[in-house]
């Protein structure tokens, strides 16, 4: 599995474990906060990029969660310059 496949597996698993929050949107909110709190900058970037390219293997909650993550991260714009050349 390449790096992005791993992230897709991770987020889908987080989504499945948070589905009990009722509506997909509510679950996605939990998932987005989880990612914000625990995922590294580069991992967030990669999953957002993957979703923007269609996010084929993301489940429904994960798709909503990535969209929400993007909205949550005001700093998104300032990510690339400072830290990660890779």
């Amino acid at each position: 599995m390449n790096e992005v496949d791993v992230l897709v597996k991770m987020i889908n698993q987080i989504s499945i474990n948070n589905r009990h929050h009722g509506e997909d949107a509510a679950a996605a909110e939990e998932v987005a906060h989880h990612l914000k709190k625990f995922w590294a900058r580069r991992m967030k970037q990669q999953i957002i990029e993957y979703a923007e390219q269609g996010g084929a293997d993301l489940n429904d909650v994960s798709k909503l969660a990535v969209a929400r993550l993007k909205a949550l991260s005001d700093e998104v714009e300032s990510w690339p310059q400072t830290s990660d050349a890779g």
Binding site: I14, N17, H20, K37, F38, R42, G86
Partner: protein, 972 residues
């Protein structure tokens, strides 16, 4: 009048204001009593008041009067067999034994007079008439209670002669590698037999025969090694003569000084006296003043310390350009400059986030703190993680979410007040043996035992307490089982409504209550998933909820699953719903694996949290650290260990500093880990041996064992204990000094002169540690955090009044089956665990005589599964999972249910982790070690991986041996 208060009574569990080591230097004869009722009496004219139930012997000792004794010792109940402690009591006939006589109000005792002296001399004369008179050449010379007592009673002659029948020719049993048993020196006081039963709880020893023929016997008159003996050392410690004696003392003589320190094996964190001759460690003796172990030990801490002076120790720094080159031994300066140059070069080329580090759960708090500080401040990112990632990270997540703090709630002593003990996915007798002994003592006193584990663990065979319930669940179904237990509690009205109403968040509780009441959580429904009969689940739930004090203990069988965090939360829910939180005897108790895994988590090893579990995104927190550290900190979490591996394989993560962890052996999916490590441009390994990870390294920095450094460890009960240096580090530096030197080489200055200064900085920045410093640790002996203005002497029991998050939070714990499923190709479930004599990756214990108990890892398989495949004991078995293949020897065993196989991972060549997958806990990425679908078949040769491993291992060992020969090589 002497008013006596003993602040360290073993089961008082109360915080204490002061610690007086002198209390533990003497043997007071019989155990402390906890009664609050005081009884006053007179002994030899001195008045003293002691708790009701105290023996006359102990009362005398507390008054400073020593009554001669042989069969009594203060860590076990009085036995009254030697009669040497006879006293006179006014108004009573004869000469009662002071050890078995409890004090009464107004009693008047005489311990010394002419009649008593004559009586004692006569008793000693009988003992000595059947005892060799080789005191001068005896290994116990100078450390023998029999010798002391002969002196104390003034024995001058033995009128019986030595010609009659005697035991002087009794044969020595040398079978145990660590101690010898010489029955010719035995006085049959039964201290060893009682220690084995009362203290250790194994009951391996007995007195065989009667009268003159009485002999101490291991098992059924077997050599010690063939008996049930677990080599904990309790009998050796209890023996008043040289009958049971450490071989190291026989060889080296009696130690001349000792230092109290903390064991570096498991999360129990036992205190030991390191008994020394100069800088040579002769023996480790469990320290009675240790709050975690109260003078008990196991085979690892007591005996398996020889690795510290093993020839394989890395003794000087080494470097090499690539891993297909021999090592070159260099100075510290050169190794550190080489490291700094490489790390900086990588960051220039690949970016700031392209390097990271792994802190050690084996090193001290101060060392762990320093490594994460180096990463955050000098590397400038948050790519720090620790081996808790692969063991108890779900505990951190789950308990923080529900109870508000990432730690267990109790002291170990709390178990002595538990009425029902629920053990989930833990094997205390093997993995936490000293605590298991205390637990077994409580079980013998009548506490109920419930074990949820795929395997029939030894705790279920506790002598005199064999009625435990065994819920033999299918691996991977923990959440379904704990939900079923909670379902029974709620639907049968067994919850503690008052506790929930007062202490828990009502809205969350109502949601959870609705969820858990749903019929799909009923044990009758989940039985299909868990394999545990519904009736058994109902009985277990009722026992836990209604026994009075219900205590839950859990281990890696809970955390190392795809739903590890969910199970931890389900456990917390169950404890809160039944009101089993916030007092002694109850609680949620994670049994921590490594000696300092609690500490490494506390010290900010995780990529998202600064010390004290303070999130990196919190600006106020970050600014506090930035001002003290004088560095800019990243506000985004860094990479976890598995993400580091993925990024390394992808080519964006190039440099790693690993202190005291063997990720190549301990982490799952070995071949993936090896690929990741091989992809690094700079791997710096700081360790005491050339471990599996070091074989992929470019820089090898010699580590120091716990005997070679100062610092602190934090055990599973949040207890901060001092580690004290007893010998110099083999390569001249304690581990914190190495990290400091690396930091300075990188241009981020660190200038600590002693670990106490690091602790002062920790206290300054960590709200739960503000009251901790080395002075205070000396005064109190040990401190359980939180220790701050609110809890100046620490916090033995947490959540007594409220939770750190205010109200307890019930989390919804939906069961989601793991993706790792059996099918026709992989029909068996493999689960992994530990055994008593070996420790984790075995780097230490494999280099001691402990290997005599466990030379190799084997695969345990149920007789039915073995018969289906035509397997018998000793066959070579090929074990194939979806990710890898390895070969182990077969042991047929009915301890698992059919369909489940089991192995340990103590030997690198076993490749247990070649077959474990990279599935992990949804919240923390803790690997799912405990569930791997496999097929097993008979084979005739090692697996491809094992053959490659062997070649690689031999090559790397050669590179190490050639380190000195390659001085001329140039390193870029």
């Amino acid at each position: 009048m002497l008013n006596y208060f003993d602040p360290k009574q073993p089961d008082s569990g109360q915080p204490h204001n002061g610690f007086d080591p002198s209390l533990f230097e003497r043997d007071l004869g019989t155990p402390a009593r906890t009664s609050t009722k005081a009884v006053a009496l007179t002994i030899d004219g001195f008045e003293i008041s002691v708790p009701e139930g105290t023996s006359v012997m102990r009362a005398a000792a507390l008054a400073g009067i020593t009554v001669p004794k042989l069969c009594a010792t203060d860590n076990m109940e009085a036995f009254g067999s030697c009669r040497l402690c006879a006293v006179e009591i006014e108004g009573r006939r004869g000469y009662p034994a002071s050890c078995t006589t409890p004090v009464t109000e107004g009693m008047s005792v005489t311990t010394q007079n002419g009649k008593l002296a004559k009586l004692r001399r006569n008793i000693m004369e009988l003992y000595i008439s059947d005892h060799p008179l080789d005191c001068l050449t005896c290994p116990a010379n100078g450390d023998c209670e029999l010798q002391d007592m002969a002196g104390a009673v003034g024995l001058r002659e033995v009128r019986y002669g030595y010609e009659g029948a005697n035991h002087l020719d009794a044969k020595i049993d040398d079978s145990n590698p660590y101690f010898s048993f010489d029955p010719s020196k035995c006085i049959v006081c039964s201290r060893c037999v009682r220690a084995c039963g009362e203290v250790q709880g194994t009951f391996a020893l007995t007195i065989d025969g009667r009268g003159f023929g009485s002999m101490v016997s291991a098992g059924q008159n077997e050599p010690f090694m063939d008996s049930e003996c677990v080599s904990c050392g309790a009998c050796v410690q209890a023996c008043p003569t040289s009958t049971l004696m450490e071989k190291s003392v026989i060889e080296e003589g009696v130690p001349e000084h000792s230092v109290v320190t903390t064991c570096a094996y498991c999360g129990v964190g036992c205190s030991f006296e390191a008994q020394m001759k100069g800088d040579k460690l002769i023996r480790m003796v469990p320290y009675k003043g240790g709050d975690a172990n109260h003078g008990h030990s196991c085979v690892k801490g007591r005996f398996a310390f020889g690795y510290a002076t093993h020839k394989d120790r890395i003794r000087e720094p080494m470097i090499r350009d690539s891993i297909d080159q021999p090592w070159r031994a260099v100075s510290w300066e050169e190794a550190l400059e080489f490291s700094a140059k490489r790390l900086k070069g990588i960051q220039e080329t690949y970016g700031r986030d392209s390097v990271g580090g792994i802190t050690s759960s084996r090193c001290t708090n101060e060392e762990t703190y320093l490594v994460q500080k180096l990463i955050r401040a000098a590397f400038g990112n948050n790519n720090t993680d620790t081996c808790a990632r692969v063991c108890h990270s779900p505990t951190g997540y789950g308990l923080k979410t529900t109870l508000g703090e990432s730690a267990g709630t109790q002291t170990f002593d709390s178990v002595m007040k538990a009425d029902a003990i629920l053990v989930i996915g833990a094997n205390p007798t093997d993995a936490h043996p000293v605590f298991a002994s205390m637990m077994k003592r409580r079980l013998r006193e009548g506490a109920e035992l419930i074990v949820a584990d795929p395997r029939r663990i030894d705790l279920l065979k506790t002598p005199h307490a064999e009625k435990g319930l065994h819920l033999a669940l299918k691996p991977g179904t923990n959440v379904a089982l704990v939900n079923a237990l909670a379902h029974v509690v709620i639907t049968e009205g067994l919850e503690d409504k008052a506790f929930v109403a007062e202490r828990c968040d009502t809205e969350g509780y109502q949601k959870w209550r609705t969820f858990i009441q749903e019929a799909r959580h009923a044990p009758e429904v989940s039985e299909a998933e868990t394999g545990v009969p519904a009736a058994l689940v109902r009985t277990a739930a009722r026992r836990y909820a209604t026994a009075g004090n219900g205590a839950i203990y859990y281990g890696l069988g809970v955390t190392e699953h795809s739903q590890g965090s969910t199970t931890v939360m389900a456990i917390a829910n169950l404890a809160m719903a039944t009101g089993n939180i916030g007092r002694e005897g109850v609680g949620v108790n994670p049994l921590r694996g490594q000696n300092n895994v609690q500490g490494s988590c506390d010290m900010g090893s995780f990529p998202h949290e600064l010390p004290g579990y303070q999130h990196v995104a919190n600006t106020e927190v970050r600014e506090r650290f930035e001002s003290v550290w004088n560095a800019k900190l990243d506000d985004e979490p860094g990479l976890r260990i598995p993400n580091m591996f993925d990024a390394a394989v992808a080519g964006t993560f190039k440099g790693l500093y690993v202190q005291g962890e063997d990720i190549a052996q301990s982490d799952p999916n070995t071949q993936h880990v090896e690929a990741a490590l091989s992809a690094l441009d700079c791997l710096i390994v700081q360790d005491i041996f050339l471990n599996e990870t070091a074989k992929f390294a470019h820089v090898l920095l010699p580590g120091a064992t716990f005997l070679e450094k100062n610092g602190t460890f934090t055990n599973a009960e949040r207890r901060i204990n001092r580690v004290r240096r007893v010998m110099p580090p083999v390569a001249g530096k304690e581990d914190w000094e190495v990290t400091q030197a690396l930091s300075n080489a990188l241009g981020y200055p660190m200038n600590y002169s002693h670990p106490s200064e690091i602790m002062d900085e920790i206290a300054q920045l960590t709200p739960t540690f503000t009251g901790v410093n080395y002075q205070r640790l000396e005064e109190l002996g040990s401190i359980q955090w939180p220790c701050n203005d609110d809890n100046p002497i620490g916090t033995p029991t947490m959540h007594g009044v409220d939770f750190p998050i205010g109200k307890g939070h019930f989390a919804i714990t939906e069961y989601v089956a793991t993706e790792e499923r059996t099918n026709r190709r992989y029909p068996l479930l493999l689960t992994t665990g530990r055994i008593l004599s070996q420790y984790n990756v075995g780097a230490q214990t494999r280099r001691t005589a402990n290997s005599e108990w466990h030379e190799e890892d084997v695969l345990e398989i149920h007789p039915v599964d073995a018969e289906d495949r035509g397997l018998k004991d000793g066959d070579w078995l090929g074990i194939r999972s979806r990710v890898g293949h390895t070969v182990l020897r077969c042991r047929v065993s009915d301890r698992m249910a059919p369909g489940v196989v089991y192995t340990t991972f103590h030997h690198p060549g076993s490749g247990a982790n070649v077959i474990t997958t990279d599935n992990s806990d949804w919240a923390t990425n803790c690997p799912e070690y405990k569930v791997t679908a496999v097929q097993v078949e008979k084979v005739s040769q090692p697996s491809d991986w094992q053959q490659r491993f062997q070649q690689f291992d031999e090559q790397q060992q050669r590179y190490l041996e050639r380190a000195d020969e390659s001085e001329g090589m140039t390193i870029k």
